[in-house]
């Protein structure tokens, strides 16, 4: 892991205003994400995890505090940052290839090379045969893979993953999380993964931040070190690591869930 800081969040605070009053969503959060690291963010539902990602992506501005990405202050969305949503949001009226090219098209960068590159990526991830099909012809897992390629093709060096697997059924979810985890490591991407699934966070992340109830503050930061069987570090294999249970219980206690 390099020691370069890709993301620096400094004293972030966010207050929402509505007619019925104001809600403090985030209260003084500071943390850093290092280059090549996958940082998991877990927290109770409605604690402002998605708000945090939206601020880092430059989609909304914080009430106070600042976010630096690659040393530059974030004020508006930038092509260095890729965002993955809960649902794939493929456009039903575009073919798979056209969906993948969406980002480049918006940036005005579609040419012969990018077509070639898009096709190569689709081939690499086993979607080559589907490039001229429409999204509704694909399964949920395949669609989410297309969404990942759509994000990766603009070559962001930071990926923001907002519960990207939660809309999938359980089996698909395990498989896709595994696959995307491997891809992220292979491409050496820095990523922020927001999830409410503790196991998913442990198996994918290098470090995990636990957020408190609203207004969100950082309760704890845990560095994950798993001794994966046979030294193969893939998310699914890592679930078999002996330390897995320990981390799970620790995070579960910290989350302090009351139903």
């Amino acid at each position: 892991m390099g020691k370069e800081k890709t993301v620096e969040v400094k004293n972030l605070k966010m207050v929402y205003h509505t007619i019925s009053g104001e809600t403090e969503a985030i209260k003084d959060i500071s943390f850093s994400v290092f280059e090549g690291e996958i940082l998991g963010i877990v927290g109770p539902s409605g604690c402002g995890k998605s708000t945090l990602l939206s601020i880092i992506a430059g989609l909304i501005s914080p009430s106070s505090g600042e976010v630096l990405v690659n040393g530059q202050k974030v004020e508006k969305p930038s092509k260095n940052i890729g965002y993955m949503f809960q649902r794939d949001h493929l456009f039903e009226w575009r073919t798979i290839l056209q969906n993948v090219l969406l980002g480049l098209e918006i940036m005005g960068k579609v040419d012969e090379t990018s077509y070639k590159y898009a096709e190569d990526l689709l081939d690499n991830y086993g979607l080559g045969d589907f490039k001229n099909m429409y999204p509704r012809q694909l399964s949920g897992g395949m669609r989410q893979r297309v969404a990942l390629i759509r994000t990766l093709i603009v070559e962001p060096n930071l990926l923001l993953l907002d519960e990207p697997f939660s809309a999938l059924d359980y089996q698909t979810r395990l498989a896709i999380a595994d696959e995307i985890g491997i891809i992220l490591k292979k491409e050496k991407k820095t990523a922020l993964l927001v999830t409410h699934d503790i196991s998913e966070a442990i198996s994918l992340s290098d470090r995990i931040i636990i957020l408190s109830n609203r207004p969100a503050t950082i309760k704890d930061t845990i560095t994950i070190e798993l001794s994966c069987p046979n030294g193969i570090r893939t998310p699914i294999k890592c679930r078999e690591a002996p330390e897995f249970r320990y981390y799970f219980n620790k995070i579960w206690k910290e989350l302090d869930v009351h139903v």
């Binding site: 969305p77 092509k79 965002y83 649902r87 456009f91 009226w93 575009r94 969406l102 940036m107």
Partner: protein
């Protein structure tokens, strides 16, 4: 797909085909039977053919009007007015809806006016329109526009506003502008609504044109109907109504074909 269809499956397909044929046969029979009864009732003096006319008389008149070219003249005028009114009403409506989507402020300002205009029977405006715009084609075309434009604005605006927030956010994360949000998401997403609005507008534009022609014209299908009614030539009225029905059905069909072309991704 395999070519060897199982026995059961071929039976199923046969059943479907039979049902389709039956529907078609009954549809044709209703038409033939209706026309036949009408003709028969008129011939046997069960109904007053002065008031109702009858199919063979209507057909004779049709042949006569086709031969001297009058029919095509009147049909061409009405079709021209309808197509222009339809296109203008739809395009203007969509443009205004885009404007409302763009500016939330103006959408809120204009909302009560649109609601009021929408519930107003637009044909009530026809006399005013004709006085203001003129008692020619232009007055009739503008009447047709007033009938279709308000509903177009409302339908399209609702569709534009119902686009998933996250889809818009997606465009923004790629650094897209508001114009790109419009072009890449909002408009393509609304194509199905656009097509169904087109289908409704065909009928509405005909309403505008016929009402306009009732009021002022010297030519067109609406003129033929009013003229026929005034001189009690019911065969002329009946013929005009039949032709009107056929042409508007044909236009509807054209839109349906366009629909199949443009929304392949929906099937």
């Amino acid at each position: 797909m395999s070519k060897n269809i199982s026995n059961e499956h071929s039976k199923y397909l046969k059943k479907l085909k039979k049902k389709k044929q039956a529907i078609f046969i009954v549809q044709i029979s209703i038409l033939v039977l209706g026309l036949g009864l009408w003709e028969l009732a008129a011939k046997l003096n069960l109904i007053d053919s002065f008031l109702t006319s009858y199919p063979s008389q209507v057909w004779r008149l049709f042949l006569q009007y086709s031969k001297n070219g009058d029919l095509f003249y009147h049909v061409a005028i009405s079709v021209f007015e309808t197509v222009v009114g339809f296109l203008a009403g739809t395009i203007l409506g969509i443009l205004i809806a885009i404007g409302l989507w763009w500016s939330d402020f103006w959408a809120k300002v204009l909302d009560p006016y649109l609601v009021m205009l929408n519930s107003l029977p637009k044909t009530a405006l026809a006399p005013i329109v004709i006085i203001w715009v003129g008692a020619g084609y232009s007055g009739i075309i503008v009447t047709a526009i007033t009938v279709s434009i308000v509903i177009t604005i409302m339908n399209m605006y609702v569709s534009f506003s119902s686009v998933d927030e996250d889809k818009i956010k997606l465009i923004e994360t790629f650094g897209g502008s508001k114009l790109q949000v419009l072009n890449k998401v909002v408009l393509p997403y609304s194509i199905p609504t656009m097509i169904s609005t087109l289908k409704v507008n065909i009928g509405l534009s005909w309403v505008g044109v016929i009402v306009g022609e009732f009021l002022v014209s010297k030519a067109g299908i609406g003129y033929l109907i009013v003229y026929g009614g005034q001189v009690f030539k019911l065969d002329l009225v009946m013929m005009s109504v039949f032709i009107l029905a056929l042409i508007s059905a044909l236009m509807y069909k054209i839109i349906a074909i366009l629909e199949n072309k443009f929304v392949k991704w929906q099937e």
